[in-house]
Point group: C2
Chain length 254, copies 2
């Protein structure tokens, strides 16, 4: 069996991704974004489904033109390697950057960070990366308990946002150091916080969103200087965590 | 084979749901919301997985206490009937209300509607229903080309929001009549619109979001009195459609 196929299958597991420092991008749009980035691509797997659309066929040609090792496998083999639904006959394997919070070179002046505290669903985690990117955050930081930001599902939900800014996992202690060393305030979002529109946002701000069910952990609350709430129409209804983050980042934009 | 099992399997198809006027709610939280609503439940299917959590077991007891016909089937049979991932051993079948746009009794004064113009992904469609509900829209209206708002995936992504306000499919002509008869303005969201914060929102407003790739159709643009844009950090990045709708509804809230 081919090495690329074995590798892609292996990379479905978080432990394998972490040990090898590799990730998998699936689907035409995500692989397009990857090959358009400056990142080195280890290789790609395709099935005949890639020829179903002109856009897929063009991507196949790009992979070959860029000299990326591209292996065509049967539909069945491809499905055994892919982790997301309808991967459109293409996945690519690439190296994840080994970014750390301590190595993050925050700009002077205005800065926004988005912090994920135990966001469980990979799709939500990826949509949060996309949302943060679109609303100008410098980096997206995932605390322990958060889904792997480098799973195929998270990568795909972020449609390329991983390739254009720091996206990293960190321990709470690392975040705590960064905040105090770099003079960044941490605000949490919670139903019982102060109305978000009532308070001017600080220049340097990290916004935390929590677990889909349980919200933000006590340890993270302890680091926060403020908790803010969106004005909602009803106590019964709730927002998806990525939608809530989008509104918070928008309301608190510089 | 049991009738409930056959029925649940059949209701995976949109045509069957439309013909029978029934839908399927899957997962503990969604079925909890359904049985807590005033809606009549036709029946429920459970597998042994429902006893895996205290919350699932409590729901099973509630189904029995409410006299809802509840059939226990094997894991394999349950999986053949369920349409979403990890349905936690429970699904319930219920009657969809036969609401029409013409029959919608809009309140006087301030009103918000959310209109979906060709939103393709059922998860996005459901998250839009949830988002609209949380941000106070009176109804969510799906135009042709939009995923079925009554699929198991859409219902589940909306976590109960369907059961508390009108959620319906309509033709463009029906929407057009409602807008003019009820004096509601229609605004579209698009990258090239006017900055959303620059314009005071009208009292009676319907906000449209479009297809994930292609945006809003020309026909719907033709009905709109204005197009508004969110201030984004970069032209490269984009927002998920539900996140964009959440920000627009928040920025334009009464």
């Amino acid at each position: 069996m081919s090495q690329l196929l074995t590798l892609a299958r292996d990379l479905k597991r978080r432990k394998a991704r972490e040990r090898k420092g590799l990730f998998v991008a699936e689907g035409v749009r995500t692989v397009e974004e990857l090959v358009a980035s400056t990142w080195a691509v280890t290789g790609a797997l395709v099935s005949s489904a890639i020829r179903d659309t002109p856009r897929g066929a063009a991507l196949f040609a790009t992979l070959e033109a860029q000299g990326i090792e591209t292996l065509e496998v049967s539909e069945k083999e491809f499905e055994s390697a892919a982790d997301t639904e309808h991967p459109q006959g293409v996945l690519a394997i690439a190296k994840a950057p080994s970014a750390t919070l301590a190595g993050l070179d925050l700009p002077d002046g205005t800065v926004r960070l988005l912090v994920l505290d135990g966001v469980q669903d990979p799709g939500n985690a990826g949509t949060l990366v996309r949302t943060g990117a679109a609303l100008g955050v410098f980096a997206v930081v995932a605390l322990p308990g958060t889904a792997d930001l480098w799973s195929a599902k998270a990568i795909r939900s972020a449609v390329g946002a991983h390739f254009r800014r720091p996206v990293l996992h960190a321990e709470l202690e690392e975040l705590s150091s960064l905040l105090s060393d770099s003079n960044v305030e941490l605000w949490t979002t919670a139903g019982d916080g102060q109305p978000i529109d009532a308070i001017p946002a600080p220049q340097r701000l990290a916004i935390v969103v929590g677990n889909e069910g349980a919200g933000i952990t006590d340890a993270v609350r302890g680091l926060a200087s403020r908790s803010v709430a969106l004005s909602m129409s009803s106590g019964v209804e709730s927002l998806n965590v990525a939608v809530a983050a989008g509104i918070a980042l928008y309301a608190l934009r510089p």
